[in-house]
């Protein structure tokens, strides 16, 4: 494991009860070790970004937290049923309408009143007018909003999102982020992965830098910026270039 910085000072929120904890997660694919004893704690209502280059293990970590994959070692504090999950690619049926997709998953979630949940999600996503349109006819941004809404149907207070804004144009990205920030305002704990550093710096309260299956850094975006600047010595003006140098200095 690389040298792990903990630049962020403990806050009142960190002291609060953890919404999700993972301890010593190890995952191997054949001879390759995708995650090497990753531990992570997320406090209630926190918005955490997991960043890192491609192949760092972001999706694998989120899949294990969501219960889609089993770790070879380590543990996760909550059952998959208690965690909302939004995969990177919109997981909905193109030949069902928006309302039918929501209704199907509401029924599969065994909600007391699926119709009420569907109505609520149509309001939340702002897609009531598109309720009877086929999902295949929606734009990428709207599909992602429905994708997120389905992840929220179970009313879980923790939501995991795998690169929620990838493949979206800037306008669609803004709409998705407005939606996610509204969720967070309602008290939902949000953990998302991204390799868009600006997006992480702009929205997350805490960033976790993952590279080659190891956590290299945990802290606020500002603290990450300072760490990167220290590494870089202020020579590079571009944050992304400095971040790449930051990873390289740690052997990644």
């Amino acid at each position: 494991m690389g040298d792990r910085s903990t630049a962020a000072a403990p806050t009142a929120r960190a002291a609060a009860e953890h919404a999700l904890t993972a301890e010593g997660i190890v995952k191997r694919f054949g001879a390759r070790e995708a995650l090497r004893g990753v531990s992570l704690s997320v406090t209630r209502g926190e918005l955490v970004a997991i960043i890192g280059p491609n192949g760092a293990g972001k999706t694998t970590l989120l899949s294990i937290l969501a219960g889609i994959q089993r770790p070879d070692a380590g543990s996760v504090s909550r059952d998959p049923g208690e965690i909302g999950w939004v995969p990177q690619q919109a997981a909905l049926y193109g030949k069902l309408t928006v309302a039918e997709n929501l209704r199907l998953f509401a029924r599969l979630e065994r909600l007391d009143d699926p119709e009420l949940a569907v109505e609520g999600m149509l309001d939340l996503t702002g897609l009531r007018e598109r309720a009877h349109d086929l999902a295949a006819e929606l734009s990428g941004g709207n599909r992602q909003r429905i994708n997120i809404a389905i992840g929220l149907l179970g009313r879980q207070d923790v939501l995991l999102l795998d690169e929620p804004s990838s493949a979206l144009d800037p306008r669609q990205r803004e709409r998705v982020w407005a939606f996610l920030l509204e969720l967070r305002e309602r008290g939902t704990t949000v953990v998302y992965s991204t390799h868009d550093l600006q997006e992480a710096a702009r929205h997350a309260e805490r960033v976790v830098v993952l590279a080659d299956g190891e956590i290299l850094f945990e802290g606020s975006p500002a603290a990450l910026g300072e760490a990167v600047e220290r590494e870089d010595g202020g020579a590079r003006g571009d944050f992304e270039e400095a971040f790449v140098a930051f990873l390289r200095h740690r052997g990644h």
Binding site: P87, L108, R110, D113, L134
Partner: protein, 477 residues
Amino acid sequence: MRGATSRRRSSPSCAIGGTEVRWLLLKDLRILRRSPGLVALLVLYPIVLSVLIGFALSAGPDKPRVAFVSLVPPDSGELDLGREKVDVSSYEDRLFAAIDPIRVDCKGKSPRACRQAAIGKVESGAAIAALVLPAVLTDRLRGLQTLAIQGPPVIEVFYNADDPIKATYVKDTIKSELRDANLALTTRFTEIGISYLDLIVSGGVVDVPLLDDIELLGLERAERIVTRARANVGPVEREQLDRVVRFSRLARENLNLSPALLRSVREPIRVRQVALDGGTTSLSSFAVALAVSVSLMFITLLLAAGALALEREENAFPRLVRGLVSRTGLLLEKTGLAAVCSAAASLLMLAVMSLFVDVDWSRLPFWLLAIAVAALAFGALGVAIGALTKEVRAASLLCVMLFLPLAFLALVPSGSVAPALYDVTRVVSAAFPFKPALDALDAALNDSGALTGPLLHLTALFAAFAALARLALRRFA
């Protein structure tokens, strides 16, 4: 938020979850309904296939078009064989039952030109073969003596060999029909020969041209005359007459055996066919069972594999199996969906085929049982394929690639390939549901054998492929 009051009743268990499976089934049916191309394929495929097979079975095979020239003079069409008259044209009619004749117009043409015209029909593609009866046909057949000295008449066959399958078919058909005609003529010749022997033994009247009727004495009456005459002669002559009587009796007794001997020579070997394996299903009934099996396999495999692959193509699979539906429940739902749809299509196909072929509706419960079990076995194979693929197109391609060889291997007859290769085809066929499904449907539709064996075989394959699919979902999903 309006949905705030809607709460989860309980955490989904790992059990199969009948309610969840029902919602998934309804979802898949809705998606199917919104896929008109696929639905059209599922409905039209069995209908078109059954209509085609129905027409083929009711119409019988096409007769080959054969140019026909008879160089036999018109007034020589009838053979006069002793006391019998044989019309050669009756043998032509027999041959024409097996071919579609194109009669070549020989008016004003020499025999050579007429023969060449028939060959021209073959060369131009108008006929696949030409059959030329020689002018000497009836002359040669007319006299047994001529036949013995000059040899039998030769019928010429010219055929087009650019299509080996058709050429073989034509050769076999004409050879078979000429063999029948030869046998029929031999029978007539034999019967005429036997009637001559009868004349020698018993005597009678013979109609000889130009000489009118001649009465033949026959051995029996000659013997009686000699026996009466010996009473009026001396001992030496009596002894000589006794020798004549003994010879006559011996000849008569031996000639009495000749008809049976000649008849056995005419057809020295008779064939008694006994089917040791399989039933007594007619070709048309077997074709019905085959068509239903093919449709059942085609539809079930494509639906089961496609429906499961769609869950992964739409990225819904991880979301479903993380507590909403168990993997086993998902497999059962896809298998059930494919089985129900294909069974309905198969019954539709049977209903259409019953318009062309006799179908025993009293055996409906057996059909339903065979179709249901076969559909489940195909469904399990389909989900196993679907579990190995991540896209509907890949799943469909894999199904088609598997579908054709399986159908082909199941139909390889014993003795047509080397024994070791045949054993391999049997093992491969036994490892997949098509052959047992065909056996089960044949037994159910045509009462051609025990139904229990194929059903147990299909049940075992269902369990094996379902387990394989479950393993594949765990390994590859």
